[in-house]
Amino acid sequence: MSFISVFDVLGPNMIGPSSSHTAGACAIAYLAQKMKSGVLQEVEFTLYGSFAKTCRGHGTDRALLGGIMGFATDDVRIRDSFEIAEERGITFRFIPDEKETDIHPNTVDIRMVNDSGAVMTVRGESLGGGKVKIVRINQVQVDFTGEYNAVIIIQKDRPGVAAHITRILSDRNVNIAFMRLFRESRGEKAYTIVESDNRLPEDITEKLLENPNVQDVMLIQP
């Protein structure tokens, strides 16, 4: 959303007590689980700043765990997320880090391990009022809010990949609102984040993977 909606004022509909420490925490973890592949087995949350200080009293821990299981910010199951995660056989850990100070006050690092042992890490910031931002994926700095329909492409940093992506999207008549590229270092892994106002067709994933330099595609729609 590029404008302040009446539902940003009277909203979000959420589990209390804090839009930044509860709803925002849930929203970050919710976005993170949309990015992973396979079934989640293990998750580790490292909390920084105010998140680390007031985690339990704000239910930040339960909200994070609920979000990682795909619960929305107004899902009452968040209250019982510890018990539900145990039932689902998900191992979870919370590590408060109050030493790191050069960081946004409401930051969390989420480390996810899936059923085939693949590891993915995501860093998110809770900006207030339930708004969030993903700022790091697997050590690469990114900038992603989840407010638009988005596709995240993990690719090798090689010529022609961006052209491939835009061609696939233009073939499907997708109007790109934002498109940004991020990379680890020259010639290594890179990330492309494309955001659109309209819903993206599900089959673009397959099409995008046709290029051998495209390693993974994550479709994240609100």
């Binding site: 909606s5 009446v6 509909n13 007590p17 804090s18 509860t22």
Partner: protein
């Protein structure tokens, strides 16, 4: 091509009201339609859902008290309800109901129940508190309640756009102050007042709550937040009554909003949601210091 309805300040909002012969809620509904490109019936349906959550969160603790996560509050709404039902309320019916509902919402919020941030979680009791009390007292339909919420949304939008609604930036006046301004404006429209009277009531609230600091005990959204939601309802009710009687305000809403913002920025860091000053730093409050 049709005109896109939007406004940047209260002056423009009033101009749209007078040009189209609309209430504030009409402008806000049309703005939402135009900017989100979602049809009107769907937007109203979504607001009805907001109203439903508000009703549930304002009602449940009146019967069943719940203890908060931090353990500082729980059971206050039920006490107020019993007190009122025994005929002992000295606030009268609307205010008595209003403060019980407002404190109920904060109880639900602090115990990880479902609420609507209005505009924030810590100030979520004020808009439903006052509006639901008026609905019960005057048997107002849900459709008119939905309109009133759009009116409240217009005032909150202006605060988010032109000032702040974050306690960490502008203190409690930016949270419960704005929430009460929203409630007052909506109450005026609900009770038959004109758009200019709505914004006059919102202006009065910001004036009367100017400078209020954000000092949550233990850093939790519990205490004094819950009390301040009750006082927000009272402030909103008073301001709505003043406006409905025809009293005009010297300072228009746009100026009052900017004044609130300027004052907010000058509130010391210790009194902006850091739990380092105010109630949080009192000897009794500091038993919950970390």
């Amino acid at each position: 091509m049709m005109e896109t309805i939007d406004f940047k300040n209260a002056a423009e909002l009033l101009e749209l009201c007078s040009r189209h012969q609309w209430m504030i809620s009409d402008v806000m509904k049309q703005r939402e339609c135009d900017l989100s490109e979602v049809p009107m019936d769907q937007i109203c349906h979504q607001m009805k859902h907001v109203l439903d959550i508000m009703k549930q969160s304002a009602a449940a603790p009146l019967k069943t008290p719940v203890k908060s996560m931090g353990g500082l509050i729980g059971g206050e709404a039920r006490k107020l309800e019993l007190h009122r039902n025994r005929g002992k309320s000295i606030c009268g019916s609307v205010l008595g109901r209003g403060i019980a509902c407002a404190m109920a919402v904060l109880e639900v919020n602090a115990s990880m129940g479902v609420i609507v941030a209005a505009p924030t979680a810590g100030s979520a009791g004020i808009v439903p508190g006052l509006l639901l009390a008026l609905q019960q007292e005057y048997h107002i339909s849900d459709d008119r309640m939905v309109d009133a919420l759009f009116n409240a949304g217009a005032v909150g939008y202006l605060a988010m756009r032109n000032a702040t609604v974050a306690g960490a930036v502008g203190g409690c006046q930016a949270e419960t102050g704005v929430a009460a301004a929203m409630a007052a404006s909506a109450a005026v429209e609900l009770m038959g007042g004109e758009p200019c009277q709505s914004l006059s009531a919102a202006s009065t609230v910001l004036m009367n709550m100017l400078g209020l600091v954000c000092d949550p005990v233990g850093g939790l959204v519990e205490y004094p937040c819950q009390n301040r939601n009750a006082s927000g309802v009272a402030n909103a009710l008073i301001a709505a009554e003043i406006a409905l009687s025809g009293i005009r305000q010297l300072i228009p809403f746009d100026e009052m909003l900017d004044t609130m913002y300027q004052v907010g920025k000058r509130i010391p860091y210790e009194l902006r949601e850091t739990a380092l000053g105010g109630c949080a730093a009192s000897p009794s409050g500091c038993r919950f210091c970390r």
